[in-house]
Point group: D2
């Protein structure tokens, strides 16, 4: 799979966000896919939560520089492993998505932490049950290397869900 064409000189946050979204799409994941995960895990806690609200929360998470950097790094490693240019023994580790590798979870954690530790539980759950797009991405065991992609997607969804939980509380408290 080809990398998205990138302008030579990228330096504003908005451009970085755009590139992050584009890169996720080029690997097969849309913002709507992630928002669907958020809705599924958060709707039992927030009455009346809509997909639209979840889209907006995913969008806010994707504003963050930490998220751009984690996504760029993880997806670059997935792609460079596909191209076979990653040096050994890392190449084999990435290609077989070694369950003891752990660096994929580490990058994901840097995204989850942005809205605090309450996202940890949802991240672990999503990663374990391989819900929705995460399962699809994880199942692509052909030529594609998705060692980082599934964890990054679970982390963005967990962060967006944590953001909704915080905002719902703020709203409840301002009404009280």
């Amino acid at each position: 799979m080809a990398l998205p064409k990138l302008p030579q000189d990228i330096n504003s946050n908005q451009k970085m966000k755009y590139l992050t979204i584009e890169w996720l799409q080029s690997r097969g994941v849309t913002m709507a896919d992630i928002a669907t995960l958020v809705l599924e895990i958060q709707q039992q806690y927030v009455p009346g939560l809509q997909l639209e609200d979840c889209m907006e929360s995913v969008d806010r998470v994707l504003d963050k520089r930490e998220v751009h950097n984690a996504v760029f790094t993880g997806l670059a490693l997935d792609e460079l492993a596909e191209q076979g240019v990653v040096p050994q023994p890392l190449l084999d580790i990435l290609k077989r998505d070694d369950g003891l590798y752990g660096i994929d979870e580490i990058l994901a954690l840097s995204i989850v932490n942005i809205y605090g530790s309450i996202g940890l539980t949802n991240f672990g759950y999503l990663d374990k049950v391989k819900m929705g797009i995460i399962g699809e991405v994880n199942g692509h065991k052909g030529s594609q290397v998705n060692t980082f992609l599934d964890d990054l997607v679970a982390a963005i969804a967990a962060a967006a869900a944590a953001r909704i939980a915080h905002r719902y509380r703020d709203q409840q408290e301002s009404l009280a």
Copy 2:
């Protein structure tokens, strides 16, 4: 519930481990309860895994000073909240096990990290589905405050499972 009687002068690691186990028991959780969780989440990955192996792994996790300190701190907060001596507004937060508190997950993470990030997924999963003793402990919504207890137990189980995964790999590789 009364605290276990403690010798005045505690300073060896073995005594600390003994106190950690005793304190967990006084809150209603035995090592066998935790080992049962480990077996349930790890048996699909390690052929022939026995409860005894899981007990041994929980025992090794409980050797660690970081685990003692996290357990002492979390359970002290649970008990002091029960006694009503924790200052406000923290007292109310602990008593209602506020989902946005997050410090319980933070302490748990310090246990999970001992065997690396691969424990994160199991921790999140256990915490979400409230498996076995975690669900029992979480359901005690009478006079007992168990805000930290359930997360600590999930973390010890996740760490013990990660330890088994590492050792199983080592064993496989030495046979290869």
Copy 3:
């Protein structure tokens, strides 16, 4: 030292922030003390940075629920240890500010992470050299227990410095 008087029913974020500031003050640390640390570590990177900018950044960090919860928990433990009501062996560990305890750094890390991992370096540095108010607080080895206070203050300063670094970059890039 007496706890600040608290309104019976605390539930809005603004009240929590107010309580957080009040509690830090009751332990001997003002927002200006923290802002002074921020200025000292960040002024070499941001030309023209003023104490006022640092005050504003500390103020924004103190808006966050994660910060409130970490401060409430850490300072409650410091105070309950002073009062001698924390159960053993934790009481002795807290009273002697045991260098291997580690839970103080864990709570601090939950604050540092809010603005991403770039705060880690400054946190470690502040905690090691015991700059300004951190050294003062750490030196109070009389009846006061400040095991958590110094790490919490270093963490708030490191987070506020990281926030300034992010915003300075955004500003530079929007000018480019």
Copy 4:
């Protein structure tokens, strides 16, 4: 700089450790360089500490699978950036060692955490003052990209120092 020649089939932990050491050396860092850092930060706390003890502690840290994975991943990114094959905008971020990147600290943290949070302070301090080999490596601003190398070295030193602190305590307590 060429990668070290690697045997085709790497799967035992001992081989991974050997490769980790070889790779660090090929980037200009020896185990003795790291042990020297450990001695400098830990000798004030442990009377009679020798370089040899520090070498042994670095050696134990390098036994850990988490350390291998973090080192392989970070140094692969440094080298692939040097070769210019990392996709944009990540390539530019890595080449200029962007202070807001943060993923280098994230990988380092996964090493530091192995011996608990007490390593955090030393990691931050080493990374800030750029002590010894860390300063040398950081100063190589020619064709070499060392964005990850300096943080990885600081993390290994901080973990080895934390390990010594834990063992010194155990020893003291067994004598008591």
